[in-house]
Symmetry: C2
Subunit: 299 residues, 2 copies
């Protein structure tokens, strides 16, 4: 069994750095799939997965947008995770969980255990409560070859409120990354990258490079490509040059590839699928060109 | 419709400050209820609710310990929330959620909307991502008369890693509380207390009083009473003296009142119930005595 980091790096080498965010926003699920109902979320999510398979290495379902539908919404999430695993996609469950030890064990079991109900390769977690609250995730990730994605620098405006402020001489997010050094080392995998991944929503290339200098071996999950704003070269600014390629993580796009222009009024599922696949291909090609990923751009 | 803070304060005035934490730890659910299965969690949780009703004002289900069972575990959580509402208990869903705006709206809808699948009076949230990520919770709480419980100072050892460190001249947790001042004011209710509640797991009485001085009108959710360690007077150190009573929030006990000694080997549900109710009564009486809550201690 390979480690999460190696699976992700191998996947992005062969397909490119794009991660497809599966974010079922209220009012956006086409009627073709049943609209904004638990069944609609599941059917739409499975269709996104079918379109993403073979085009990207990673998908990232946004748990909160499933949870709003209660247990049935979580059942839809489960179907999307299952479909992704069966399609050979890596799943990062974007849950942003975090709690004291015994409860953190519960969340870790939900996403990272061998028989996890929400079959994921990694889960996003929040570091505010401290390192001991991350331990249950790290322990299980180590045991099952999965990954833990820690929020360091998020891309929302409010991330300046605390993350960017000075904590004893460095920004809080940098202190978080520093404190994670032993965990990054502990989850280092066969390819040299760590299955301790960081959410690295840099405000610009300088901050991205600073984050990379603090954690040379941590994979980055980069939000904010596509609808949220930044372009491909900004998104890849924290990646590492290896030969003539940039690598070191995955770049998420959600709305721009799952709700592209015209997709909400597509007359048939075939028309819809064509729009989704074109949007994914475009985003992947754009990122791959900037990353120098010839396997993709020569296609 | 009254506001959450007023409902909580009125409830604790008449019954005492205890909150019963409903934390279905793996391996702890008695076979009497079906053991560690979704049905066991729901039946056990409903039985805890039946015992808590009339003895405490507030219960706090720990979402992560339900979520580990996947969608069926979340169905069990739903049943526990429903039973609590029907029994007239206030529900604080201990979910510790937090995400960017559109996703935060999803979580807020799951716990705080009028038709929330997990019928709660308040939900715990994590401030790391910044104030904009709390807005959707505040908006919905204001609209529906519910509450938002923000992690400020948690009681686990790792809370020292970031929360207690110096952020531009004050501990991070104090900066979080400061930044919440407008939200605390915005959610101030009829009784003068705010429905913006803080998790206030002080390391000792001095820190508790410091937290209170920073946020005189915020309700406190105090963890760490009972199995986690602190005694009644420590737990109440951040409460405010009003006449001869202390008020200002609720004090949580979980294991000490839901898994009291002997309850795991009780032969019948009646025996089990007697042990649970005695443990709840003891904890409530201990806290009420220290709080000067005569309505309770004179009983």
């Amino acid at each position: 069994m390979s480690d999460f980091a190696s699976r992700l790096i191998q996947g992005t080498r062969s397909l490119g750095p794009l991660c497809v965010g599966i974010d079922p926003h209220p009012g956006r699920i086409p009627d073709l799939f049943g609209g904004d109902t638990p069944e609609g979320l599941a059917a739409w999510g499975e269709a996104i997965v079918a379109s993403a398979a073979g085009r990207v290495a990673v998908v990232k379902p946004q748990v909160g947008l499933f949870e709003r539908h209660g247990p049935d919404g979580m059942r839809a999430l489960q179907r999307v995770c299952d479909a992704s695993q069966e399609a050979g996609l890596l799943v990062i469950a974007d849950a942003k969980r975090g709690d004291i030890g015994t409860t953190a064990k519960g969340y870790a079991a939900a996403y990272l255990s061998r028989n996890a109900p929400f079959r994921s390769d990694a889960v996003t977690v929040n570091p505010y409560m401290g390192l001991d609250t991350l331990e249950p995730f790290l322990d299980l990730a180590e045991e099952t070859g999965k990954g833990v994605v820690v929020l360091a620098r998020t891309s929302n405006p409010g991330s300046a409120d605390f993350q960017a402020r000075d904590l004893e001489g460095a920004p809080l997010y940098a202190r978080v990354v520093e404190a994670l050094a032993p965990a990054i080392d502990r989850l280092k995998g066969a390819e040299g990258w760590s299955s301790l991944m960081l959410v690295a929503g840099a405000t610009g290339p300088d901050e991205a490079r600073h984050l990379r200098s603090l954690a040379p071996q941590a994979l980055f999950l980069v939000p904010g490509y596509g609808a949220q704003g930044g372009g491909a070269s900004d998104a890849l600014a924290g990646f590492t040059r290896i030969g003539n390629r940039l690598e070191g993580g995955t770049v998420n796009a959600s709305r721009s590839v799952t709700f592209p222009s015209g997709s909400d009024t597509a007359a048939t599922k075939a028309d819809w699928r064509q729009l989704i696949e074109a949007a994914i291909d475009d985003a992947q090609a754009d990122l791959s060109r900037h990353a120098g990923n010839t396997a993709v751009t020569s296609g």
